[in-house]
Amino acid sequence: MAIKIALAGNPNCGKTTMFNALTGANQYVGNWPGVTVEKKEGKVKSKKAKGEEVVVTDLPGIYSLSPYTLEEVVSRDYVLNENPDVIVDLVDATNIERNLYLTTQLIETGVPVVIALNMADLIEKRGIKIDTKRLSMLLGCTIVETSALKQTGLQELIDEAVKVAKKKETRLPGEIFSKEMEAAVEDVKGLLPDSITEEKKRWYAVKFLENDSKVVEAVKLSDVARSTVADLRTKIEKNHDDDMESIVTDERYKYIQKIITTTVQKGKEKLTASDKIDRIVTNRILGIPIFILIMWAVYYVSVTTVGTFVTDWTNDVFVVTIQNAAGGFLERIGTGVVVQGLVVDGIIGGLGAVLGFVPQMAILFLFLSILEDCGYMVRIAFVMDRVFRHFGLSGKSFIPLLISSGCGIPGIMASKTIEQDNDRRLTIMTATFIPCGAKLPVIALMGGVIAGEAAGYAESSFIAPLMYFIGIVAVLVSAIILKKTKPFSGKPAPFVMELPQYHFPQVKTVLLHVWERLKGFIIKAGTILFLACVVMWFLSSYGFAEGGFGLVEDSADSLLAAIGGVIAPIFAPLGFGSWEPVAASLSGFTAKEAIVSTMGTLASVQGDVEDAVNVASGVGAWFPTAMAAFSFLLFNLLDSPCLAAIATMAQQMQSRKWFWFAILFQNVFAYVVALCVYQIGSFAVGGGFTAGTAAGFLLAIILLVLLFRPDPYKNQKVYAKRSVQNV
């Protein structure tokens, strides 16, 4: 049977890097606490496992085995119920005190522990000296010095872990707590049912003393035993004038302090390079300007200069060349016009428009990954917390929003680090309001249309920044409106966040990151989008005309026109009631990028589908006014994201009810905002006052009331739920 290793440790101690080094798997690595929430498994490379079958499970990064966060519950459930043969506890040698706090809890679970003293290469640099032999003796478990990054000590670690796992003997820790506590633990151990094996009894005993809600629920004690535990607890609590959980935590840290005084020599307190950098970038005066400058630089480079250059090349040279070549080839082998149309315009044209966008996204992701890996991203949460708290969110919500500007999928996934349910749901629901990379071509296209309609504006370059701005405002407005409703109410989440040391971004980590994110996009483009292109081409080329079904000359006779025509009236109040834009919006649900390709197909645009002027002239006729074009853009910016992102939402919400609420909210919100803007806007620029205008004003007033009404739950004293409490 395979040997099961559980990889445990604090967030940001190099755990995922270690997992990748051991298993060779390409896994997501991040430099802000709590990136991994679900556990991941991988087989140890056969060379390292020496013929054994060794499976490693990467547990989420945790600080403790308390019952209060999702990660902690996932980890402890795994350790206690899935019977791993050994726990490899990754301890960050540069931050040993807090890391050992988790160790003292892991060694109580009855599963043998091997400590990997990670970042051992950094110890010397910092002038820290650790007597590993003595530490190993005091803790009762083997210690191996490793560096996951430099891949040293890994073979030894695996050898040790396999050896310990095979021995199957657990060495329970000696005395961690005070005499009084230890005696109480012994007493409680005697009260536990036989279903709990001997080596796990200590852990359960401590948890019963702490009155851990999850353990008390899971293990039934007799009434007598329960009251005995309660008596023991009250007695100790009285003696210490504190609650049990605090006493236990306190004594653990005291124990650690005691053992490290004899084993760890701390280096001289000197300013590390990281501290110096931090002094500048989170400086009171310079902090915000630096943040704005960095963000501006990232977007400027990836969206306008380098990004545009690469994207233009891909579209004008690369795609057109392929289109011509494919067209020529098909003609030579003598295929019909239908196949040529499908391949050249439908598939290559559609996919090309989207794939041409990949380089731009790659550059954006590259920058975001560098910021994340070097440790700046978490400082952004630190700097921005004040702003977001104003709207009932925390600085942690900012990271998902920022990543969503590249792609909503990793953005939604990044919301995992937000502990409180309501904040996390809110962030998941609103993250995709921020224009993602795929919406940029739509913005560029509609910018062209709007500029074409509104004669006063010579160019449309203001549209893109405006859309980002609207996206941010939409997030904040939704946050305020929703926070005033019961399900989202509750005291703001405590904001306790570790600020890891800065380090040079690792090329490998950064590239892995970029690839992981890009891969999702490319796969989506290759599968869903491919299908969408074919389906859209079919629907727009075929239809009922001249009494039969077949290829239609005029796309107004097509199937798409028929479908679009049926639902078009719904969008008439938004200013785009004709079938083409409605059909394009529909295709946006398969993937936002498809809006552009669908429009290109419907307007039969040849060549560069992404050239705003080119397509804009083709589709301009669909929008009677600039306001209608703007309303169309707004609706497609704020409505539900593409299918892939919707699937991610469903996965992260972990609740059908919340998922459907999110979908409903996004679309209703998008519809209402677009309607208000179109109706009121049209009225403002000199249109007549119609029933639509009245509806627009009415909805706008309702929106404003929801926004500015006093918060009925303002004085709520209860913290919002964390999902672990109802798992």
Binding site: R98, K266, R284, I288, D385, F495, Y719, R722
Partner: protein
């Protein structure tokens, strides 16, 4: 005095931690326990949260949340 009132650049010692169990436990798990030394490192550009050094690493806490920690 609470941690929220402590001045930037000063070193304080925790005397008591208040608050409900989930929050208190979280703060204590991070190493802010009775008797531990905290160095108030800096304040974020907008005046909140604060960055403190505890047990050799950096932690950020909101001033409002820091009110629960009594220090001297």
């Amino acid at each position: 005095m609470t941690l929220g009132d402590a001045e930037v650049g000063s070193t304080v010692v925790v005397t008591k931690i208040e608050g409900d169990s989930a929050y208190k436990r979280r703060i204590m798990d991070m190493g802010i326990t009775k008797g531990s030394e905290l160095y108030i490192r800096k304040v974020a550009p907008l005046g909140d949260p604060v960055e403190i050094t505890v047990r050799g690493y950096e932690l950020s806490v909101r001033k409002n949340d820091a009110q629960c920690v009594q220090v001297k």
